[in-house]
């Protein structure tokens, strides 16, 4: 039901021309007579011919495809787990309605998959840029088994790769980079031979803290960091310090609170603070977190223990994940332009592919400070957040 697939040669024979001419019309290169073109077009349709990308790639030495290496995110684990307990759910055929479960609501804290939409957006932006450049895109989450084999496999089928910072061991990254150009997505780290696309981490936090200082009159702030050695986090902390220093407040030499980007660890930190409270400790005026997840974790525990946000303590995040919009209270944060990150990364990559010799550069995308309830009231905000809407 799908015999030997027709080749360019078959098309040529059928159209009564040479393979070269067929190649010309496929690639819209060079001049071909009207008749030849018509005959070839017809032959292609009749034969159902589709050019082989492998053959093209081999002959032309480029694949017209870029790759995207994403980190595995939490929700992915669910997918893996599910494979064990899945026997019943999927059934061929069309059974009755009795098999449809009815549940009341869903876990309101259910993970919004794929990193709270984060990487889905990156993919979307990257796909868009690739499309604009006439390139195909391949995506992979860098999972544990066979990481090296899989990544090299991708490297072998693309003209360039976008790699999210920290997803690949250094040696693997360099191996890949010997073959194709690589663009690192976020994370400034030490100077590097590769192009980088990042966001204005420091400036974002600096501006946010400025707001807390100036508009809310908060004077005692604490930064909740990520694990040591994370470039993005370090930049954010730098922005935090800069704002303090500029306001004449002494900045700490290093973060005093450290999480791990995850909500669970954020909760633990909050529990520690609440405990401290019981032993006579005090809360700072504001807790500026390295990311939204951590901040949401704080919120969870504060709510459970009667610590009021923002009255007792202000909490802020970084990223702009969906969950931050609907938390209680909604989270003030620094929003990253995720889709733009994906898009910019691919644009930088295509530029690099076109000009391999130019020296590596870093592109910084702007961020936006988004004010919500977790840092206090702001006049323009409607009570239900629906101000300004006019659906009727």
């Amino acid at each position: 039901m799908r015999g030997p697939v027709p080749t360019l040669r078959d098309v040529a024979e059928r159209a009564g021309v040479s393979p070269t001419t067929v190649s010309r019309v496929i690639n819209a290169s060079g001049f071909v007579s009207r008749e030849a073109r018509a005959a070839i077009r017809q032959a292609i349709d009749e034969l159902g011919y589709v050019p082989s990308a492998s053959a093209r790639g081999l002959a032309s030495r480029h694949t017209a495809m870029v790759g995207l290496c994403l980190p595995v995110v939490d929700a992915d684990t669910d997918l893996a787990d599910r494979s064990d307990r899945r026997p019943p759910p999927r059934v061929p055929g069309l059974p009755g309605a009795e098999t449809v479960p009815v549940v009341v609501d869903t876990d309101p804290e259910a993970i919004i998959s794929w990193g709270g939409m984060y990487f889905g957006e990156v993919v979307r932006g990257a796909e868009f840029a690739a499309w604009e450049a006439g390139l195909a895109i391949t995506v992979a989450m860098t999972r544990a088994p066979d990481l090296e084999a899989r990544v090299l496999n991708m490297a072998g089928r693309v003209d360039g790769m976008v790699v999210v910072s920290g997803t690949l061991p250094d040696d693997l990254l360099e191996h890949v980079a010997r073959r194709v150009p690589v663009v690192i997505l976020t994370g400034l780290g030490p100077e590097s031979a590769h192009d980088r696309v990042t966001v204005r981490n420091a400036e974002g936090v600096e501006r946010l803290v400025e707001h807390l200082l100036t508009d809310h009159g908060i004077t005692s702030l604490e930064y909740v960091a990520a694990p040591e050695g994370t470039p993005d986090d370090e930049e954010r902390f730098r922005g935090f310090c800069r704002a303090l220093t500029r306001a004449g407040i002494e900045a700490p030499a290093a973060p005093r609170l450290r999480g791990d980007w995850e909500r669970g660890r954020g909760r633990e930190i909050a529990r520690g603070l609440v405990d401290g409270l019981g032993r006579g400790g005090t809360l700072p005026g504001a807790l500026v977190c390295c990311n939204d997840n951590t901040a949401l974790g704080l919120l969870d525990v504060f709510a459970a223990h009667g610590v009021r946000v923002p009255e007792d303590v202000v909490v802020t995040g970084f990223d702009g994940v969906e969950a931050a919009r609907t938390s209680a209270p909604p989270l003030t944060t620094v929003e990253q332009p995720m889709a733009e990150l994906g898009r910019a990364a691919v644009e930088v990559l295509t530029a690099r592919i076109a000009a391999p010799a130019r020296r590596a550069a870093t592109t910084s995308l702007p961020v936006t400070v988004v004010l919500r309830g977790s840092c206090g009231a702001h006049p323009p905000v409607g009570v239900d957040g629906r101000a300004g809407e006019d659906p009727a």
Copy 2:
């Protein structure tokens, strides 16, 4: 800075073996002595060798990659638009914090990108299944210009494709299918030569309506359909009718209300109903919509005109998009397992690739009726939806 890339032959020479042997270790096929293997491994590292997927594909006649054709969704337009007004935002280098805009909240109705997360989830599931099968995955949104060229291009570089129903013209789809196996995602339509993966549309709505009938005692229901000729919608309507008929209520021959899957059209429909109300018309007990977007549109307008949901009219959706969880009131809906759809589609595809001759089949995934505020109160639901959570 990236001279002629090393080939398998280079590795062979350096390791003092034949190309065949190198091929064997790369593919972990056949037997190779310890020494040979070690020498080859070392040569690979030193040379920074990466196998060419093009050459492999050409020689082996398969690419170890599957493709995914997604429809373009609303938010994508944003991306395209933005390219015009983008001059200022992106700046190389690291400017100061003054350049960071501060905004109060965001448009609460802002589109949650990529089809309300819908297709992001499909991609995630598909990527997972592909990974399990040792395949790479390439994704494309089927955009207007050059659709045919781009799709055939994809067809030429994969071993099989998953195509979301309705994204490709029939003739293009058939052209593609002559080359590689195709799996259609959702949409039952007329019998087809291709494998299909869909959800239990009819059963889901049937169960939902049963709930409205039985648990809420509603007796007058109206189905809000999608444009005519949409298989998924027709199935949902069938489920609607089946539930009514079983309850002894006469089912309409055809939907009396028709939207177009979009929120905007949902609003128009609601405006029509509200107008009718002014002219002495009445509202049905429940409006069962073909999808969440349409239902959310109804909600928008009802809220603006003082029509209370669920007191004056019950509204339900289908899909389970994120926005349905946070609408006012939260929307009762039939949830589709999006990630599972993507995963199942790729699994069916790999099975088909392995057994091209087997006849085409349809796989139906289970759905879940999720009860929320828009159809009335349900005992187990906490006021703030946080019941059962224990973050502390």
